[in-house]
Amino acid sequence: MSQTGTTTRAGTTADHPVVCARGVRKSFGDLQVLKGIDLDVRRGEVVVVLGPSGSGKSTLLRCINHLEVMDAGWITVDGVQIGYESRGGRLFHARDSVIARQRQRVGMVFQQFNLFGHMTVLENLIEAPVGLHGVPRDEAVRRARRLLAQVGLEGREDSYPRQLSGGQQQRVAIARALAIEPDLLLFDEPTSALDPELVGEVLGTMRELAAAGYTMVVVTHEISFAREAADTVVFMDDGVIVEQGPPEDVLGNPQEERTKAFLQRFL
């Protein structure tokens, strides 16, 4: 392990939230996409974010690792405000290299997989550990092979991403996110680009991660995954969190009209 995360993680305790968001606002031009979001994600918690298209789910997820720069409010990941540095009690925009380091323990899985196309599966998996975390190459390779076995893809390490099916690519992408020994995993609609018969294998892998105790924030339209794997379901609409709680409550007995209307569509 590199020392990057230790300073922050030393201060955190088991019940201290991994993600803590307060009053997060974000606009694209005149369009207000996030209108004040408060969210806590505890260690080992699986949070599934549901909501209609355009409600700001992806934007929220991308604000967490600073791929999107928010306008107001704050988010900490393991106590660190990604994208910002505090000096002398004042907050500054962090330099590129600092932001890069702050992101190193947050894994992300994208809708379009975004595997590095010029690298083999194995190279994709060891790129960050070897290049950024200073893990010795043979150890990274050993760990990568173990992760590939875990997502059911042993023997494919020398394939290029384009030689794999969508479902296989997404499982490689998940393994790539695990390879950095993440403190937090972010998923943005990981199954939306997949053919229906391939969705199951990816959701299966994600269920295993949830059971293994990873801290996950998952944006998805798979209600069944939310019901089975989520500790907390967050329902967003029009840039606000309308309702959140255990899946039994939010999915089984929604209180808000908008939640009911949204869930109606999946019956």
Binding site: A100, Q104, Q112, H118, E127
Partner: protein
Amino acid sequence: MDADGRDVAGARHTFRWGQWAARVVVLVVAAMIVHFLVTNPNFEWGTVWAWFRAPSIGRALWTTLWLAAVSMVLGTLLGVFLAVARMSANRLLNGLAGVYIWFFRGTPLLVQLIFWFNLAALLPQIGIGVPFGGPKLVSWSTNDLITPLTAAILGLALNEAAYMAEVIRGGLLSVDPGQREAARAFGMSSGRALRRVVLPQAMRAIIPPTGNQLISMVKATSQVSVIAMADLLYTVQSVYNRTFETIPLLIVAVLWYLIVTSVLNVVQAFIEDHYARGERGTTGLPAMVRRRLRGRRGAGRAGAPVTTIEQGDRA
């Protein structure tokens, strides 16, 4: 096999009269050209062959080659910086790169070469010190710095950088933005993401126009003859000005230029093949050579699955 005649294995090609007529015409024209080349005494093939091997021409060719190589390398390096600057969110960098590209693409190379060669007329001394007429720490006479050689390299490289910047920018734009995003999300700095993820994938789009640029560069070096650089064309010209063997000597130059560009074409094909890894199926010369080699090496293991050929891209 198939009573209805639907089996495509039995399908024939229709005889195409037009295609055959075209072939005959091309054959006849080719024969006419060869006849013209061989029977016309004014080509003086004996003279051509003598000069083709002449040491003075060899030295001139060498000058052309390394001038093109050095200018291309410098131009490409500067071009990478310009391309990245042109794409950065930093307004100042972006603007500066834009002005550079606008100026150097907008003026003729010949003018730029002559300008650099005559820099001393505008700026007799080049030095480091306080600007606007303040004291100087060190200074040099421009005439000492600007020789035909440095003027040629300056002119060619700075001009090339403007074109390469656009070639590289086009390549970078061709890579899916998701690649950069994934690299950034995993904690790579912008520079590292560019080096490790974006540029390698942009190479596929960058190589073919770069091949064009390099070939243009080899020929563009002939323009340095205006500033008395003894490149291939300049040398050939000074020979025929003495001997009046104009046509044969120009043919010598043409032959050498063609040989050099042919070699470059082959090299380009192999580089393209290298950067095609991760893509399905490659074609052309390198694939042919590779299949040959593999065929020879793999003679003992006949019947190897066909898929190894596609997956063995990096073998």
